[in-house]
Symmetry: C2
DNA sequence: AATTTAATTGACCGGTCGGCCAGTTAATGG
DNA sequence: CCATTAACTGGCCGACCGGTCAATTAAATT
């Protein structure tokens, strides 16, 4: 069991790891099976043995990555319980931090969006629905303004966070642009002020 | 001059058009010179004659596309003059409409972001700076809250619009998601309510 | 009309692509 | 201990890759 010369699961995992890394970095079309074989230290034939063909490997890379993503997000959301304005703020912060620490996730979503792959949308469908439900609860309690679609609130904060990291190299050329944290705080300020009911 | 059998400029433009279309659709790596030649109805050698190599053609595609993008945006902004809250709203609407009618622009930005190309950031640098200046003016007049970075306001509305179209296939799987216009109106509602100074 | 210039072609190059297949080798279990 | 199974290898295939080059052809210049 110790000095095992063959371990199918480990080999499979090694290939999947290398494939995930390379596909996320360079995209599906720009990575060859030979490069994949070299990076995972196996022969090209062995990749075909374990995964079929290049497309199937790519699908499995996406599937497992999205699964991991959804699981982590689920864990984050489960800890929170209350459904007030503070929950929304902490959710935004948590999501923003998650993307900052997992830049590969941002790129993977970007690649799949460009190939119009809809499977990724189903990965966080339930998360979004849950978030929207929490917002609706807060709306019904009068804690958040009720004239906006809760799902759009979730979408807005996903868009504001995701595209910040996706277009970082783009924004960095803009004058007056601030740090990650400064942008996040400004966004939260606008979002929460925009969602809090007015007294006047 | 009429029945000209050779027209270098026209040929060049035909190649550039086909390349723009195919690169935007499939990405740089997934498009071959042979496919490009077929799509623009010329020989592969002729593309090399006019553009050098594949990378240079890609660079020229991006350059001209971003130039067109910047020019159109500039035109839109020049018509507007006042610098109050309404200008911000109409700018958001205009930008949103522009992206809806030019889905290729969204994809082109996405491709270039994935290859960490920073040249695209310089294409709208001046536009963003101008928008930020207008917002700052409105802040100084007390028309918009002054405790947020004007550049971040521009960034936020770019992010909110761009990523809406970029991740359309993703969002469409979410329950409760609305139409383009419904999302836009909700975003404007939150943004403007979040930016308007409070009296209470 | 002769000459020069440049747009355009087709054949060809070495290299790489994804995939396949016939073996070899190591674990399994009867 | 031997048969079966499956992990794993190396070599090969036809197709396609980006790029080059000499030749052809049409326009521009003289």
């Amino acid at each position: 069991m110790e000095t095992q010369t063959r371990d199918a699961d480990a080999t499979r995992a090694r290939i999947l790891d290398a494939a995930t890394r390379l596909f996320i970095e360079h995209g599906f079309a720009a990575v060859s099976m030979r490069r994949l074989a070299e990076a995972s230290d196996v022969t090209k034939s062995l990749i075909h043995h374990h995964f079929g063909n290049k497309e199937q490997l790519w699908e499995e890379v996406k599937e497992t990555a999205f699964q991991t993503y959804a699981r982590k997000q689920q864990e984050m959301l489960e800890t929170a319980e209350q459904s007030d304005a503070e929950l929304l703020v902490s959710s935004v912060r948590a999501y923003f931090s998650f993307l900052r620490e997992n830049p590969g996730v941002v790129r993977l979503f970007a690649w799949t969006h460009l190939e119009e792959d809809q499977t990724c949308g189903r990965s966080d469908r339930d998360l979004v629905a849950l978030g929207a439900r929490r917002i609706r609860e807060a709306q019904e309690q009068g804690l958040l303004r009720a004239d906006v679609n809760p799902t759009h609130v979730v979408t807005l904060f996903v868009n504001a966070c995701t595209h910040w990291f996706e277009a970082r190299s783009h924004h960095s050329e803009w004058e007056g642009i601030g740090t990650d944290d400064e942008y996040l705080e400004d966004f939260i300020r606008i979002l929460m002020e925009g969602l809090t009911p007015r007294k006047d």
